[in-house]
Symmetry: C2
Subunit: 288 residues, 2 copies
Amino acid sequence: MFAYDLNIYVMEFDYLIAPNPDDPRLTRRVEGIDHAGKEIVTSVTVERPLTLFLNGQEIVTMMTIGDYPEYLALGYLLNQNMIHEDDHITSIDYDADIETVVVRTAMKTTFEEKVKKKTLTSGCAQGTVFGDVMEKFETISLPEGHIIKTSWLTTLVKKINTTPSLYLEAGAIHGCVLAREDRPLLYMEDVGRHNAVDKIAGYMYQNDMSGADKIFYTTGRLTSEMVIKSVQMGIPIVVSRSGFTAWGVELAKQVGLTLIGRARGKRFVALAGQHRIVSDIDPLDEDE
Amino acid sequence: MFAYDLNIYVMEFDYLIAPNPDDPRLTRRVEGIDHAGKEIVTSVTVERPLTLFLNGQEIVTMMTIGDYPEYLALGYLLNQNMIHEDDHITSIDYDADIETVVVRTAMKTTFEEKVKKKTLTSGCAQGTVFGDVMEKFETISLPEGHIIKTSWLTTLVKKINTTPSLYLEAGAIHGCVLAREDRPLLYMEDVGRHNAVDKIAGYMYQNDMSGADKIFYTTGRLTSEMVIKSVQMGIPIVVSRSGFTAWGVELAKQVGLTLIGRARGKRFVALAGQHRIVSDIDPLDEDE
């Protein structure tokens, strides 16, 4: 939609991974009409199925833009508690033709047995998985000692909003960003926000990156799911341009997560973990 | 957030069902701070689990605001192709205490047997269900002879945006509206847009309401899922304030669905089924 040099953005903001709206696999040009009846050509986001296997077990078919299938697979399994830090991963094989990704571990995981038992009685593994995730959630304690300055927040939001992205190119997509202080490090997009966060989790695991000193930004709502995933990734501070759900807020309070929503320009609302927010912008500036 | 009389809106726009942001079960007041460090109290949307059973079979646990559990259950089963028009439904029992809803049919449905077979081999029923849905999708032909005037579209968007809603009260929620010409009939909200559309499907089924002369409006993106559900509900025209995905557009073209996105004020983009759009607003007005 506008001309730019992607490398400038990767360099200027020091992204490790930034969106690549020029990738021809991720958008498609479609003809249509506008409100005046005029013929137009516009970009739309591509979504494609990806079926995930853990060893011999088919787990789920996800709809994804398909840019980082290996990170997505790994992050999904981690965030669903289907694999753990001590499961030795021997391979991750992505096959574009048959749209599958297979994650293999040295030994069978405990999850495969659980899935078999559960599905014999109730028909779907989702209940079990959710139960396991909540059990783990209650044992996690988030690191203290890391803060977010309001000046970082303002800078971060501005950098993220001006980074070339599929969102700016084609819309209809969610973005998640992993940041340190006011520097965005990883910016992942996908049709579902759960995929975008899972891709970040997969990258962090593969690169042995800690969540303790990070800030997690999402364009999506601060739901229970988003809170649970951030906490599992060990990230103490979560920011969204969007709003909250009550259960999201409750879980964040339970575990001491800093939950900042409705972040636009210099404005925001924090509904949990306010102790990590350090105000270093003069409130008198707020109407600038 | 502002004072109004709900009945005025139900009467003025002739809604059959409109959002009820005053319902104390749907939002919670939460304390926090704003960007200036000032203590504030704000409304957030409530989400709660609802476990759905079809006869003796546990199907899924959904996260929902919980306002119309019976319509949600029925619409979910219909839109997932788990029950069909000729399955005689004998009861729908909602139990608020244990957060379950049980749909019973006179005879076992074909779905329960399928679930059992499938889960023995692959661990989850989702693949089968999706397969069935696509099979049915390919056999559907949408009714012709119904149109949307651009003046209706403008009026509809304005009415929907000014209707008191949980979105205006607390944000972080999706809305779906079933309309006829420029009159919104059903306005359902939920934490997931799939729930909002399923509640409308459940209402339509219970009240024997045809989709042929209707327009479906959603705040969410025009994904394959949204296109499939609208088509299954027999609705030929779909409108969103949000954008498109490529597969959504492709499926809409396949089946001749009119797909209108990025609808704001008088502006929109149509990427499929343009033949049903009748322009009756002078394009010269567009910069008003």
